[in-house]
């Protein structure tokens, strides 16, 4: 084909030699053959053979695609994508206001980033999502498993057990109210032990372990194909301390972002990251901005910023491809991540709070 040699995935030294020898298109390489190639550029016959195999693979991939065959490019019309999206589920967060501004919940195949000051509830949301992804489909969930990658060590198993117990209780209430066959059957498998056993936990202590874990994740996910959520709690932490070379950091983060989006797309799972906040000192004032720099802001598809307003926790949707920017209040209860209850308590069937909360969870938090 007329593919230029510069656009083939070959090593830089090999590419330089090919350019010096005067090869311009892939077709010329294929015409020369391995013996001629090794003679002209001065590489061994095995290397020449390998190079030609790579070239042939690329060109046959192109030819198959031109003929209308199914190539490796993920290509389809927007109408097909629309149907796919409408059939996809969301991971609910149990806070209906947050679900509303996200358009139904945390979306699969996208990267969602949660930024916030310390203690505002990022890890709580991650733990809630790790439980919520396992809700059976008849109750409105996606019935998947979760991978939790922890870099800060803030994952508390007993807290997850509390959240899971509250979630199971909520589902039991719904089943009792509706009295349907599949609800009862699903409840048999949806219990505290099964929830905890389907959260795969990894602990990474520095950035090298984190990068290795993310690059090895596709193999893990192809073995455990039911995983629908990957949480990385604390992506900022290993990259913020002890990093002298900032341009290396930017490059590593960008490569990591591309790898995560490939994982999210290939395995149809949602990726949730948590980020820290840092202060930007401006001319006359200083503002709190998400950490890791400007270029990291492009990595996530959906960005949520959690912040305080006196004693009320607020969540703002800052970046989303399909929803408007808005801010809602939320709260953290012993049962997990929940809506703020209005002062005049109206008992609706959705809420499972047996005891309406009397005070915010400030004291138990810090």
């Amino acid at each position: 084909m007329q593919r230029a040699v510069g656009s083939l995935p070959l090593g830089p030294a090999l590419r330089a030699r090919l350019a010096a020898a005067g090869f311009q298109t892939a077709q010329e390489l294929l015409d020369t053959g391995p013996c001629g190639l090794s003679r002209e550029i001065g590489i061994s016959k095995e290397e020449a053979l390998e190079t030609l195999q790579v070239v042939r693979q690329e060109c046959s991939g192109d030819a198959a695609r031109t003929a209308g065959g199914a190539g490796t490019t993920r290509k389809c019309t927007a109408l097909e994508l629309l149907e796919e999206e409408q059939a996809q589920g969301f991971i609910i967060t149990f806070c209906s206001a947050l679900d509303n501004i996200l358009g139904g919940g945390v979306q699969l195949t996208k990267i969602t980033e949660v930024c916030g000051a310390p203690g505002v509830g990022k890890t709580q949301l991650c733990m809630q999502l790790a439980v919520d992804v396992q809700i059976p489909e008849c109750f409105g969930g996606v019935c998947g498993e979760a991978v939790f990658i922890d870099t800060e060590g803030s994952f508390m198993v007993d807290r997850v057990a509390d959240i899971a117990a509250a979630c199971v209780q909520h589902c039991q209430l719904i089943a009792e109210a509706h009295q349907e066959e599949d609800h009862q059957k699903a409840l048999e498998t949806f219990s505290l032990e099964s929830i905890l056993s389907h959260i795969y936990y990894f602990r990474c202590r520095d950035y090298i372990e984190l990068l290795a874990q993310v690059y090895l994740l596709p193999d893990f996910l192809s073995e455990h194909s039911k995983v629908r959520l990957v949480v990385i709690d604390g992506i900022a932490f290993p990259f913020r301390h002890d990093f002298e070379d900032l341009s290396l950091r930017t490059r590593l983060l960008n490569g990591l972002a591309q790898q995560l989006i490939i994982i999210a797309n290939d395995h149809k799972s949602a990726v949730v990251l948590t980020n820290q906040m840092t202060t930007r000192i401006g001319q006359s004032q200083s503002t709190l901005v998400p950490a890791l720099g400007e270029s990291w802001g492009h990595a996530a598809t959906v960005r949520l910023i959690f912040h305080w307003d006196k004693s009320q926790r607020l969540a703002t949707l800052y970046k989303s491809p399909s929803q408007k920017e808005s801010t809602i209040p939320y709260t953290i209860t012993p049962h997990g991540f929940r809506d703020v209850q209005p002062p005049a308590v109206t008992q609706n069937t959705e809420s499972t709070e047996m005891n309406p909360r009397k005070r915010p969870r400030r004291e138990e938090e810090k």
């Binding site: 490019t73 993920r74 409408q86 802001g297 960005r303 491809p321």
Partner: protein, 314 residues
């Protein structure tokens, strides 16, 4: 720097090539720039044959000069101006997107680059009934938002919106080599004029080009720069040869010395697009939620830079 080969032109046989190579003439450039009398003496080849070969090679490999009037006529007949779906942006771009050129949208995260790309795709597919190719490398393409925009623009019929959706092809490429393969595929389709699934393609949108190139730049190797320039060449060739309007989106980074925002991918990339538009949002994000954005012209061959308009991406 093309190597002399037996099939390049009639009169250039294998024996001639072997003899020439033995005397140090390997590529076309060597042949054309050497003294033919000298070569014919050393290689004992006929002078007339060498001159004939040189004439054919020059005709084949050199560029043809064209005069300005011809170029102008060609431009008038082949350039089209495509509406972007937002009248203020059209005004900024001097009535719309010009085919045959690369236009760039840059902005901070959340400034609306993907929204503007979706609105361009919607307006070209709906009002002009032409095909659009969308190369998505960040995962930000949401078909339901595109459908929402189409319904807002189409107003009446629903089947118009869904047939418009069918004219938009989406390819998810997360790696620079995949992006180059996808562009090569477009080139093959268009040069063979296969009507199969592409149809009259006029617009290629790439969101975003810096997501695939940024991981390769920096460091001590200049390989990232080479790939970036290869990609730039592909885009410009596509735009020029097939009269397509190519729209790319770019990110912004913070300049470490001055603290100001500047477009990513550096100075070398800044020469590639002919028009650059910077999108900004007004006000800090979590103080007031707004759908208003401001677009300013950073580089344009036709309009004065510094022009600014307001956009609504709601």
């Amino acid at each position: 720097m093309v190597v002399l080969r037996a099939g390049l032109c009639p009169g250039l046989t294998e024996e001639m090539i072997q003899v020439l190579r033995a005397n140090g003439v390997r590529t076309v450039v060597d042949f054309v720039s050497s003294d033919l009398e000298d070569v014919s003496q050393k290689c004992s080849l006929s002078y007339k044959a060498l001159v004939a070969v040189r004439r054919v090679l020059l005709a084949q490999f050199s560029a043809f000069p064209a005069n300005g009037a011809d170029l102008y006529e060609e431009l008038k007949s082949s350039t089209a101006i495509l509406p972007t779906g937002s009248p203020s942006l059209d005004q900024l771009l001097d009535s719309g997107l010009y085919t045959g050129e690369v236009t760039e949208l840059m902005g901070a995260p959340g400034s609306g680059k993907t929204q503007v790309c979706l609105s361009i795709a919607a307006s070209v597919s709906l009002s002009l009934k032409q095909h659009v190719l969308f190369l998505d490398s960040t995962g930000g393409f949401t078909a339901s938002r595109l459908y929402q925009m189409l319904q807002a623009q189409a107003e009446d019929e629903e089947e118009q919106a869904s047939s418009a959706l069918q004219r938009i092809q989406v390819a998810r490429v997360f790696d620079v080599y995949e992006m180059l393969s996808a562009l090569q595929e477009v080139r093959d389709h268009l040069s063979q004029q296969a009507v199969s699934c592409t149809g009259p393609l006029k617009t290629v949108l790439i969101d975003s080009v810096s997501a695939v190139i940024h991981p390769l730049l920096g460091g001590r190797q200049s390989e990232g720069l080479a790939i970036m320039m290869q990609l730039a060449r592909e885009l410009k060739m596509l735009a020029k040869e097939f009269s397509l309007a190519v729209v790319v989106t770019n990110q912004v980074t913070r300049d470490s010395s001055t603290g100001l925002l500047k477009p990513a991918l550096g100075r070398s990339w800044s020469f590639v697009p002919s028009t650059r538009v910077l999108l900004e949002s007004k006000g800090a994000p979590w103080e007031e939620a707004t759908t208003r954005r401001s677009a300013s012209l950073a580089k344009s061959p036709r309009q004065p830079t510094g022009m600014q308009v307001e956009l609504d991406i709601g």
